[in-house]
């Protein structure tokens, strides 16, 4: 009906996708299962990941049909991330279906897309998860004249689940993006704050690699992936916040102290009302970022910075309130609140902190800092 401006709602197709993903997640990863999975030797739920990819086509949502994808787009990808956030699901979706896939699309590496889109190959982008868009091209890996890569990248998300690594490296002619089989790399899992998205250090020693993009394309392709990742991560953060708010509200309706439900105490009600208000704002901001990225809007960089600045902080606050308002039980290992707290805190650092994104706005919208 609206003739202009972004579409901030969910289409019917998007709502159907959400229902399917949510049903799959409900079956595979209720909170207890997530915790058990994270404590096991294999922290990823690979069966869930295969089901997401194969049954729902979620791994290839942003990939055109001609390359084996669903031909949907980033708005739909964002819906999946909302649900993954809501269930703190341990699957390598952000690394493979968002970051790596965006790089492959931006490099035009069409021959690699079908298996990544199908989820038969899991890919990871070899940058520290804390890398913000708009920074310098990473220089930690060198590309030799013989086409091999040598160097080290720390804190790579989803690398331990990946068969294919996409590695930014610098060669004699400048920056490039390279494909490396994970068997050619040494991938060592770190002890991560976020139990549901393990990070790894990747070491390459003269690893055979195939160049996907050279100096003319690589920096923009990498930045596109980081911007897309940051923008869509806002949807995951929204999902985390929504779970935390809903779980807290439900608990406070149930838990009685002083012969009343805790949820009838006005101080808690007001805090939750404020949290709800900011969660409603997060939904609008995350939707706008997804819509702007999907449509290639010139406002995408602003939309992403706003969404990250708001949603990154909100998810942490929602998780912190969830722990606090559950009282002692929220501090226990057995209650799932901590999984969300840790994911929210790690997500806050991922792809740029809220502070960095706000500072990016200074240049984007013309509010420069003091003249030094």
């Amino acid at each position: 009906m609206s003739t202009a401006g972004p579409d901030l709602l969910y289409s019917e197709i998007e709502e159907e996708l959400r229902s399917s993903v949510r049903a799959l997640l409900a079956a595979h990863c209720p909170p207890g299962a997530v915790l058990a999975r994270c404590e096991s030797a294999e922290p990823y739920d690979l069966a869930l990941w295969r089901a997401l990819a194969a049954d729902l086509g979620a791994a290839g949502l942003q990939v055109p049909e001609e390359y084996g994808g669903a031909g949907a787009g980033l708005r739909e990808t964002a819906v999946v991330l909302e649900e993954l956030g809501r269930s703190a699901a341990p699957v390598p979706f952000l690394g493979s279906a968002v970051l790596a896939t965006t790089v492959l699309l931006a490099c035009g590496a069409v021959e690699l897309l079908p298996s990544v889109a199908a989820g038969t190959t899991t890919a990871a982008l070899a940058v520290p998860l804390s890398t913000a868009p708009g920074g310098a091209f990473p220089g930690g890996v060198r590309a030799a004249a013989d086409g091999t890569l040598t160097g080290r990248v720390t804190s790579v998300a989803d690398a331990s689940a990946a068969g294919l690594l996409l590695v930014p490296a610098v060669g004699a002619d400048g920056p490039g993006l390279y494909a490396v089989e994970s068997t050619a790399a040494r991938i060592v899992r770190r002890t991560s704050l976020d139990l549901t998205r393990p990070l790894s250090d990747v070491t390459l020693e003269a690893a055979p690699a195939r160049r996907l993009a050279g100096p003319e394309t690589a920096p923009a392709a990498l930045d596109r992936a980081l911007l897309t990742g940051a923008g869509l991560l806002a949807s995951e953060q929204l999902g985390i916040a929504e779970w935390c708010l809903a779980t807290t509200v439900a608990y406070l309706k149930e838990r009685r102290q002083f012969a009343r439900p805790l949820g009838s105490f006005q101080a808690l009600k007001h805090r939750l009302a404020d949290l709800w208000l900011d969660t409603v704002g997060a939904r609008a901001a995350a939707r706008y970022a997804a819509d702007a990225l999907a449509g290639g809007s010139p406002d995408a960089a602003v939309a992403v910075a706003v969404a990250q600045a708001h949603c990154g902080a909100l998810a942490v606050r929602a998780a912190e309130e969830c722990v606090q308002l559950h009282g002692g039980i929220g501090m226990t290992w057995e209650h799932p609140a901590h999984l969300y707290l840790k994911r929210a805190k790690a997500d806050q650092l991922a792809l740029g902190t809220p502070g960095r994104h706000r500072n990016a706005l200074a240049a984007l919208v013309g509010l420069p800092g003091p003249v030094e």
Binding site: Q266, A273, R283, A362, P370
Partner: protein, 389 residues
């Protein structure tokens, strides 16, 4: 015929350049182009609400006069949707046209000195004899009372039932000799609001909106619309207070500090998120009545206006120590972002009080949106007259 064809037809028959302003507005109303989502015959076409923006833009481009909506905001934003929903056919026909054209200004007689956040505790009495109500009591915080022809009024018609059930809703004639309007000076120096003393004011029963005793439900429509009207307007990016401060920031590099920069970036982001939230809410509601979500926008609006206007005074430094004018005036129009920084700072303090305090709005969100349980209430089921005060 689509709405733009109707606009063209209106303009063809009533050239704005040669037509009297009021004649043009009346013709626009009669053409269904006043508020297109209203029913035909009442200034509308039963068209989607979103089309109004097209009509307004086209008419503005043609140099057509508007109805000066800020001057008649209470009529447009609060009285009209309530009359539309609860009014009889006679009431709708009588009131809506001059309300929209601005021939008749409206005001709102809701709050009382003893019934602020607890509005339903109001004590203004209305007693029916024959087909006429006689009203006695005191109202407060009434803007436009001194220019208004009509008021929407809630009064207690049955003190023997619990407070929410004994209220009725009326249209009150502000020219009645029992209406005494006195200016109420506020912290900005001006008297934007009034106290209104009602002594033996007579209201025909035909001017009652909704059933006797159901005035509280009718008032909810008014209040929900008020909150949307205060916090829910469509805005361009940097619309409102944030734009004022951003402009100063850009024009005055010598005032910048890192501390203020970080706060400005935070508020700018908050303002943009609030704008997007409002945009999404409008897309969702599109044609429906505003619900409790309207409270959210008003809450966000007040918070932002206060943060930003406080920041602006700090940013201005020495200039922030000045004030433009303390003279008591009775302004017909109020622009929250008008005048100087000191005025904006002080006026914004009212944003979290008028039209429902932020505390009441948080209660509404917690209970009606999140479904959290009400607090223990001692007064809810007690007859109004037995509630200790």
């Amino acid at each position: 015929m689509d709405v733009l064809d109707r606009v063209r037809a209106l303009l063809a028959e009533h050239d704005p350049a040669t037509t009297d302003r009021l004649d043009f507005l009346r013709a626009r109303f009669d053409a269904g182009l006043a508020w297109v989502h209203f029913p035909a015959g009442l200034g509308g076409l039963g068209a989607p609400r979103a089309q109004q923006a097209l009509v307004d833009a086209e008419l503005a481009a043609s140099g057509a006069p508007d109805n000066d909506p800020r001057r008649i905001g209470i009529g447009l934003g609060m009285a009209a949707p309530t009359i539309l929903r609860y009014g009889t056919e006679e009431q709708k026909s009588r009131f809506l046209r001059p309300l929209w054209t601005g021939e008749e200004v409206w005001c709102q007689l809701f709050s009382e000195p003893g019934a602020g956040s607890d509005l339903a505790a109001l004590g203004t009495r209305a007693v029916l004899e024959g087909d006429t109500w006689t009203v006695d009591g005191q109202k407060v915080w009434t803007s436009s009372a001194h220019t208004a022809r009509w008021a929407i009024l809630i009064a207690r018609t049955d003190p023997d039932v619990p407070k929410h059930r004994g209220i009725s809703y009326f249209v009150c004639d502000m020219t009645d000799p029992g209406v005494d309007v006195r200016p109420l000076r506020q912290i900005t120096g001006e008297a934007e609001f009034n106290e209104v003393f009602l002594t033996g004011v007579r209201i025909p029963d035909a001017h009652r909106l909704g059933a006797v005793g159901e005035g509280w439900q009718v008032a909810q429509t008014t209040l929900n619309n008020e909150r949307v009207a205060i916090g829910g307007q469509a805005m361009p990016r940097e619309g409102g207070m944030v734009g004022v401060v951003a402009a100063t920031w850009r024009q005055r590099p010598e005032l910048r500090t890192h501390e203020l920069h970080q706060r400005l970036l935070k508020s700018w982001t908050d303002a943009e998120v609030a704008r997007l939230t409002g945009e999404r809410l409008r897309q969702q509601l599109s044609q429906g009545q505003p619900g409790p979500e309207g409270a959210a926008m008003k809450l966000a609006f007040a918070r932002l206006a206060q943060e930003l206007s406080g920041l602006e005074v700090e940013l201005l430094g020495e200039e922030g120590l000045a004030y433009d004018d303390w003279t008591m005036t009775r302004p017909e129009l109020v622009d929250f972002n008008g005048r100087e920084a000191g005025y904006r700072y002080l006026r914004a303090k009212g944003n979290s009080i008028e039209g429902g305090t932020s505390e009441i709005l948080r209660n509404i969100i917690a209970e009606r949106v999140l479904g959290l349980p009400a607090e223990p209430r001692t007064d809810k089921d007690l007859p109004w007259k037995e509630v200790p005060r």
